[in-house]
């Protein structure tokens, strides 16, 4: 039970007001504050906790993208990961990059690094895909514990309490496995100053998707990005009958 891979994605900071580009091809990212995806922070925290409890020996933080993503890897190192891997993807490949390409990269790395666990955030706050974890598990043919709100290692198995629509579901899966972190899994630690200093000395290896035998061609083409329609004023009604009549009149029911 030695190594865990943690995926960290660099996304636009949650507090920033998103603006659509004038040509509607995407959102404005230049000069905009970016940070680690909050669910990835939770994933890193869980991995570091497992290491502190001595269930695993090494945590490797992985991020895919241009040079800027090394900041995100560095933050993961400052939270306690041991080393980082930066998979270089830039330009058009980066813009078109999605869960399919990422999961191929993670599957290849999981095999290469002989990882016992791959821990990812359940979804990224920019695309909200919620697919990468599931796809990675499928490509590796590994069990998956998604939407994890509690993770317990029990020998060669992992007990995962999952957040589902009906409430909570507990499953037991064998390792190696893929886990995705949900909101209540833990509260991520602040990077301490001594750990930031230590992170300076930790290594970040660089590689390209081609080195892992992954093709980055996207099967998805973004046609157009628009802001959500401005919310219109509502109408107040006096009785339930009025409500039903109005809903019928505008074709809702």
């Amino acid at each position: 039970m030695s190594r865990v891979l943690v995926g960290v994605k660099r996304v636009i900071d949650y507090a920033v007001k998103i603006r659509v580009k004038p040509d509607h091809s995407g959102v404005v990212t230049d000069g905009v504050k970016h940070s680690m995806n909050p669910f990835c922070e939770i994933a890193v925290e869980e991995a570091v906790k497992l290491k502190e409890k001595k269930f695993i020996k090494e945590v490797v933080a992985v991020s895919c993208g241009p040079t800027q993503v090394t900041e995100t890897i560095r933050t993961a190192l400052a939270m306690g990961c041991d080393r980082g891997i930066h998979v270089e993807v830039s330009g058009k490949d980066y813009e078109a990059m999605g869960p399919l390409q990422i999961s191929k990269i993670f599957a290849a790395l999981a095999k290469k690094e002989e990882a016992s666990l791959v821990i990812l955030g359940k979804q990224a706050i920019d695309d909200d895909c919620n697919q990468t974890g599931q796809m990675t598990a499928a490509l590796l043919d590994w069990p998956q514990g998604t939407f994890a709100s509690e993770v317990t290692i029990d020998g060669e198995k992992v007990k995962v309490v999952r957040e589902i629509d009906g409430g909570l579901e507990t499953i037991k899966i064998s390792m190696p496995a893929v886990l995705t972190a949900d909101l209540r899994l833990n509260t991520p630690r602040y990077a301490t100053l001594p750990n930031i200093m230590k992170a300076k000395k930790k290594k970040i290896a660089t590689m390209k998707p081609a080195d892992l035998g992954v093709d980055m061609v996207s099967r998805v083409e973004v046609l157009r990005v628009d802001e959500p329609p401005t919310r219109l004023a509502g109408v107040k009604v006096e009785t339930v009958d009025d409500l039903v009549a109005k809903l019928k009149a505008n074709g809702t029911i």
């Binding site: 000069g31 200093m197 300076k200």
Partner: protein
């Protein structure tokens, strides 16, 4: 600076700890990360409670512990002694970000780092450092600095607190005034006269644990601002301490005090910057939201000019502060720059505090908005650790030395 910070981060710049002026535009990566973690902490943990801490005069015990765990209570202390092992620029950034969340907490951080740990780190023996610094790095204990007396503030050389030797002990008598952290501290660096005839060369520095027999605290002052910190008199009545509790050589107390305050000035400048920035943030945000005469008030030139003046005041003070910190880190003389930084930053804080209330109008005058707290918190920065008048004397003194024929 926010734009430059974003640009620096976006460009993924990995500038190693360079000392030249050109690096003032972009902070080294480690410093940016450290600044970000302090900012995150301040936004999430301090911002939401700052108003309550101020209203109820509550010392932020839990937060100080958490900051200690992060290394913020002992930024410059080497790792072997339990600190973060970072430089003074990092410390300045930490204090600014913490103060932006809560001016009082920033003050506690600054006093512990610069005024209490600072002199012990510089003048203490290895044994003193282990005994008096290490337990104060975790946030479990904080220290204070006792120089001012009811009879002398700016006139530090006129210390009337006395220390006489009796066998294997020093016996201290006198009163110290305006001591920040007093009611929450577990130790103090205190200055007393050991040889009255030598005037200011007869002052020595001592380490006294708190509480301790012979040392009592006066009533907590009811202050205008930084209300979450405790400020009170320290009363010494035959307070006995071992001979080993003298800090530095006998008679070097005044020198220790002055050098400590030199560095402390950068800490207070940083605290003032944080408060000024918070005031600016509040005003700029309000300018977007508040409408008058059919448009957000940010469209009005009168408001725009205020915001521009506030931004220039903060940014120029910030660059002065960083320069002073970098000179100190490079072991170059920094007395003049530190005094300039403290003067500029504290005046920027009071200016921004004042203008922020003006931009908010009536809303600035009520406690619903933080503008009035920033106004009150800012005021002390022009007074403690050397009044603005003293800073001007220090700057002029250094300047005239440079021009001496």
């Amino acid at each position: 600076m926010a734009a430059l910070f974003k640009a620096g981060k976006a460009l993924g710049l990995c500038v190693s700890g360079c000392r030249s002026l050109s690096s003032l535009a972009e902070l080294p990566e480690m410093h940016q990360m450290m600044r970000q973690t302090c900012r995150d902490y301040a936004d999430r943990e301090l911002g939401p409670i700052a108003g309550k801490l101020d209203k109820e005069h509550l010392f932020p015990v839990q937060q100080v512990r958490e900051l200690g765990a992060m290394g913020v209570m002992a930024v410059e202390v080497p790792e072997e002694l339990g600190g973060a092992g970072m430089d003074y620029l990092a410390y300045s950034l930490a204090v600014e970000e913490i103060s932006r969340g809560c001016g009082s907490t920033g003050c506690v951080v600054s006093v512990n780092n610069s005024l209490y740990i600072g002199p012990i780190l510089k003048f203490g023996t290895q044994k003193q450092k282990e005994q008096w610094i290490t337990p104060f790095t975790t946030g479990e204990k904080v220290g204070c600095f006792a120089l001012s007396e009811p009879g002398n503030g700016s006139d530090a050389g006129a210390a009337s607190t006395l220390a006489r030797q009796e066998g294997e002990e020093w016996v201290l008598n006198g009163t110290k005034a305006w001591i920040t952290n007093s009611w929450d501290a577990s130790a103090t660096v205190i200055f007393a006269t050991t040889d009255k005839s030598l005037k200011h060369k007869g002052i020595s520095a001592f380490l006294v644990p708190m509480p301790h027999p012979g040392l009592s605290l006066g009533k907590k002052e009811d202050k205008l601002g930084i209300r979450a910190t405790s400020t009170a008199n320290l009363i010494l009545e035959d307070c006995r301490i071992p001979l080993g509790n003298m800090l530095g050589p006998r008679g070097s107390g005044f020198k220790i005090a002055m050098q400590t305050l030199d560095s402390g000035r950068i800490g207070i400048a940083s605290q003032a910057l944080g408060i000024a920035q918070a005031a600016l943030d509040c005003a700029a945000d309000y300018a977007h939201k508040r409408t008058a005469f059919g448009a957000p008030i940010g469209k009005l030139q009168a408001v725009q000019f205020k915001l521009a003046d506030m931004a220039v005041a903060v940014e120029s003070a910030r660059l002065l502060t960083w320069k002073a910190a970098m000179l100190k880190d490079a072991k170059k003389p920094f007395t003049k720059e530190a005094a300039m930084a403290k003067l500029a930053a504290s005046e920027a804080a009071t200016f921004c505090g004042h203008q922020s209330i003006q931009v908010l109008g009536g809303m600035g005058y009520v406690t619903d908005m933080p503008a009035e707290r920033h106004y009150r918190d800012a005021r002390i920065t022009e007074i403690y650790e050397g009044t603005s008048e003293i800073q001007r004397l220090v700057i002029a003194g250094q300047l005239l030395k440079e021009y001496a024929p």
